[in-house]
């Protein structure tokens, strides 16, 4: 299993791996927003957490379609299914590798992008914390979508459409918690804990479902 984690991380950072395309997309979205909204610093600071969350959400959708597709195309998936490892654990490890390679860089880039949005340090820290606990849920939900669309040649858009409704709760609680940290009457702890719960819940349900789907996807 550690071998699989190491292999997926290696592949993500090599030619064609696409680990950093998410960060570039994140950068693109966050830099063009001020041009579209206008140089109103107060407004930017106010909508900053929401923009960062939406950009991170879309960026983490990029690349999710390749989670199992590459392995299927070169025959690796067949052999992975045959091994004496539980498919749930295998999918969990693949999700973990995907998140480490494409989710974590987004969070590390957040402080810089937060400055673009004229956000105060506390707001940036809150967005980072919520992204840290929230983005794994997106990967785990996405794994199910990736498993379902694994045999479709252009499944990327379909995947996004399939899983967007499911990741909306993650977005809502993530943004609510981020605002809760900076705006006084709004609570931070409650939405933050719900966000943690969502991630824990999908870290179990996602791999089980995706593993089952993959086992039945061979032809």
């Amino acid at each position: 299993m550690i071998a699989l984690l190491k292999r997926d991380l290696k592949l993500a950072f090599r030619v064609g791996g696409g680990a950093l395309t998410g960060v570039l997309f994140f950068l693109a979205v966050v830099t063009i927003v001020p041009f579209g909204i206008g140089p109103d610093l107060n407004l930017l600071a106010k909508i900053g957490p929401a923009i960062l969350w939406i950009a991170a959400l879309l960026a983490s959708l990029l690349g999710l379609d390749r989670l199992f597709q590459q392995d299927r195309e070169d025959g690796t998936l067949d052999l992975i299914i045959m091994q004496p490892h539980s498919m749930t654990a295998t999918v969990f490890i693949k999700c973990l590798a995907h998140w480490l390679a494409s989710g974590l860089p987004l969070i590390l880039a957040t402080p810089i992008f937060g400055l673009f949005m004229n956000m105060e340090p506390l707001a940036i820290a809150a967005v980072m914390a919520t992204l840290l606990v929230g983005t794994p849920a997106i990967t785990f939900i996405g794994a199910v979508g990736a498993a379902v669309t694994v045999s479709l040649p252009r499944g990327g858009l379909l995947l996004a459409v399939l899983i967007l409704p499911l990741v909306i709760p993650v977005l809502i609680f993530g943004v609510t918690a981020a605002y809760g940290a900076v705006e006084d009457p709004a609570p931070f702890t409650a939405p933050f804990l719900i966000l943690c719960a969502l991630t824990l819940f999908f870290s179990v349900l996602g791999p089980i479902t995706a593993g089952w789907v993959l086992r039945n996807s061979t032809d």
Binding site: A3, L4, R7, L11, T76, D78, M82, Q83
Partner: protein, 216 residues
């Protein structure tokens, strides 16, 4: 160790491809499956390897302990399962660690497929035949008693075909079992007294209850 295939039927898209195939293979025995394109060789192998659900029938392996039959099998399909972005050695080490039961170390396996000293190259640089040989080396880095090989010598030259036949021989002599689908003659038994069974998929009656395997 004994592989028993009992009344196995396979279908694709609701269409019966083969039905009621039965045979048994003991330690050191190989089955060569021949047949025209589309006669169902690959489907049969994929059903045996557990990659396709069987329409009916069972695949069982004696003395496999806690493992299911597919977990005791090496499957060499049409695809090589190599990552072009990783070096050959990294590819082999990954499969060795992921499959468990280490047998040869990657360098020795590369030597066995007559490609010594190229472990550091990215898999993307290899020719089709070389990739196939690395794929065969994958069978050697970890031990699994049953080899399921589908058109193993497709892209190989004459010398490599013989090299592969020798490797299968060695595997059988060590108490392994092999099932190979091919339409080229694979001289597994050349010069060695090996128990090789053969089966022609074209002669397999579809939708028929006759058991062919016991004739083998």
């Amino acid at each position: 160790m004994k592989l028993t295939i009992n009344n196995l039927s396979g279908e694709r898209n609701g269409q019966m491809i083969f039905s009621n195939i039965s045979f048994t293979l003991a330690k050191g025995e190989a089955l060569i499956i021949t047949g025209t394109n589309g006669s169902g060789k690959s489907t049969l192998l994929r059903v045996i390897a557990g990659l396709l659900p069987a329409a009916s029938g069972t695949v069982s392996l004696e003395d496999s302990g806690e493992f299911t039959p597919p977990e005791m099998m090496h499957y060499l399909g049409h695809l090589n399962a190599l990552k072009p972005a990783m070096s050959i050695e990294e590819n082999l080490i990954f499969w060795q660690q992921f499959c468990g039961n280490s047998l040869l170390d990657p360098d020795a396996a590369l030597e066995a497929v007559a490609l010594p000293g190229i472990g550091h190259l990215p898999a993307a640089y290899l020719s089709a035949g070389q990739k196939r040989r690395i794929s065969i080396a994958k069978l050697l880095v970890s031990f699994k008693p049953v080899w399921i090989v589908d058109e193993p010598t497709g892209a190989l030259d004459k010398a490599s075909e013989q090299m592969f036949a020798r490797l299968v021989n060695e595997h059988l002599n060590n108490g392994g079992i092999a099932i190979a689908a091919t339409h080229k003659p694979l001289d597994i038994g050349e010069g060695v007294a090996l128990k090789t069974k053969s089966m022609n998929m074209d002669e397999m009656p579809v939708e028929d209850t006759l058991t062919y395997g016991d004739l083998l």
